[in-house]
Symmetry: C2
DNA sequence: CATAAAATTGGTAACGTTGTCAAACTCTCA
DNA sequence: TGAGAGTTTGACAACGTTACCAATTTTATG
């Protein structure tokens, strides 16, 4: 029956403490020039009433919202949860909050979500990748708040980017394949190479092979989402078209591991008959024999760094970083190449 | 030089279209009783000015924010990204937005984050688990908005819960172990059994073994986070204490797979020398031989269902679900038991 | 054609907070 | 003891939107 009491406001706290609203406000946000006695009185009143500030109201007046729009393609990717974890670790203890948007690997969707999230007046935007729709790019360029593009670092950021080099990844693996003596090299990707990151990696891989006087014999880009099954299917198609292939680079570890299963099931010896390499350096790799050759992408580090830069920028720190920040990759040699 | 123009407001749109602010507001939020001509005029003006609504202001006046606070322990868990994906899928096309909080498996932290997120006046709360600190429980109970507790379903929800039964999981595996003839059974957990879910599973497992006239010979709860390494370490300790053990149930697939590696490395034959079973039913399982016996938890389904219920409740649908919703588990027999 | 009913538009006042400025009070030091 | 500086407190207005109600126009009805 009892109509639940509406949430107490600063007005209630002020009345309860016998001070003005603005003084209560000053106490709550630890503003300077408040006497100890007033501070205590307000704190007591706030606790007594169970006051919680209304950040919506504060944001409206104060213009800055402490909300950070984070836009990633999906959570089922193995990559973006790590990024989010890193961001959250950096935001730990600050007042910054993540508002999440997922683009489903679709640029139009990304733009729509960006517009929607901007209506929350975020204090910053963290978005994945350097490639966006024309509309999204224009919006991002016009933004007053920090815009940090994560994951990718071979291109020019709108404001600041934290990522790793897809070209470098392609080069590392091409060099490794050549060094190990493979000559008939293939590639398997997924998701129609959306986002563009994986394509960049493949093109860099091809280019480096070309520098070594080799060419990519064949490549198979599946439409389906990355998974073990997709990797297996991709490899099967590749091998039926180009049976003499001796090494395959995959867009990610999931595909490569799926392909490894396929080989195992079909009596193809890895690496003797066929060498396989992945990308990302997921923990799973540790559980599977032979251990996959791959390249570790610094996912949590990217998130943490992006989060820290966001904090610095919003805190107005003059030494906050800008521009392109390249995080190192580590080559993880395994027993599959 | 050019001071960037401030974001256009409804006032600007209204002036540009030659109508009142409130009319512009009505057009923007598709309210009824607006003539076609006025609608068009306002839309044109809005597009011309590049107007984006300010939801902060709208939320302040309108009281409801369309922000949904989602609190999970971590993203590196393999489980929660799937839940978030499910939630996002449900919110797709609606105006609901996820504001994220991570509790780091700490109830005090969870309570702090809950308080913080509430200051954003969320229209709903999705939080993981049925166990919370006394303070958090009190806050959640007092909330006017829908509160959906996800993952767990053996306990009473504050408002509504969507999850699966830990007891049921424990029972399924106990029955399976007994049926397969194992008698000297152990258990390995991690993270000090935070959150309490895994403990519930273990206790139900023990209880069911007792019904079969068996007892859990030994269990080893590691302090470290779940990982392959933790699983291997846990199993090693368990076996050094109780070398005659013949089957082990693990708190999750990661631990079980790590243990499997350990067996492989130490010449322990699975399942002949030792049977292993996990929990969760991660995709990884498909890539590893012998295939792990486990139980699939309906993670994305839980997220999607919770998101849908949230939508229904906020939309005021009278048939929106309430109370405890139990999602089915599927037993996935493998070759490790 | 008059009148009631419905549809359309606008004015005003909030929502809860904080920036700006001014007033009051306290303290220091000549 | 009084001027000047510093500290503490408060009043007011504003952030951009929408709820509520009133005014106006259009449409339907007898």
């Amino acid at each position: 029956m009892a109509k639940t009491a509406p949430r107490p406001t600063l007005r209630d706290v002020a009345d309860h403490a016998g001070v003005s609203v603005i003084s209560a406000s000053r106490v709550m946000r630890e503003a300077p020039n408040v006497s100890e006695s007033l501070r205590v009185r307000v704190k007591v009143a706030a606790t007594a009433l169970g006051y919680t500030p209304n950040r919506i109201a504060g944001s409206l007046r104060g213009q800055s919202s402490d909300l950070i729009a984070v836009i990633v393609p999906s959570m089922s990717n193995n990559v973006f949860p790590d990024i989010l974890d890193g961001i959250d670790a950096a935001f730990q203890g600050s007042s910054l909050r993540t508002v999440l948007g997922m683009s489903r690997y679709d640029m139009a969707e990304e733009e729509a979500i960006l517009r929607d999230l901007l209506s929350w007046n975020p204090s910053g935007v963290i978005i994945s990748g350097l490639e966006h729709s024309a509309g999204a790019s224009e919006i991002l360029s016009g933004l007053q708040c920090p815009v940090i593009e994560v994951m990718d670092s071979d291109g020019d950021p709108i404001d600041t980017s934290v990522g790793f080099s897809m070209s470098s990844a392609g080069h590392i693996m091409a060099d490794h394949f050549v060094e190990r003596g493979y000559r008939r090299i293939g590639y398997v990707g997924a998701w129609g190479e959306r986002p563009a990151r994986s394509r960049k990696r493949r093109l860099a891989f091809e280019a480096r092979l070309a520098e070594h006087g080799l060419s990519l014999i064949d490549h198979q880009i599946e439409d389906a989402q990355s998974s073990f099954a997709t990797g297996a299917a991709g490899l099967a198609k590749l091998m039926s078209r180009s049976p003499n292939i001796d090494a395959v680079f995959f867009a990610n570890d999931d595909l490569a591991l799926g392909a490894m299963m396929h080989c195992h099931a079909h009596g193809i010896l890895v690496p003797n008959d066929l060498a396989l390499a992945g990308f990302n350096g997921l923990d799973i790799r540790d559980g599977i024999t032979p251990r996959l050759t791959t390249i570790r992408s610094p996912r949590a580090e990217i998130g943490a760094r992006a989060g820290q830069i966001m904090l610095d920028r919003i805190g107005g720190r003059s030494d906050a970083e800008h521009g392109r920040i390249d995080m190192p990759l580590s080559f993880l040699p395994g027993e599959t190449t």
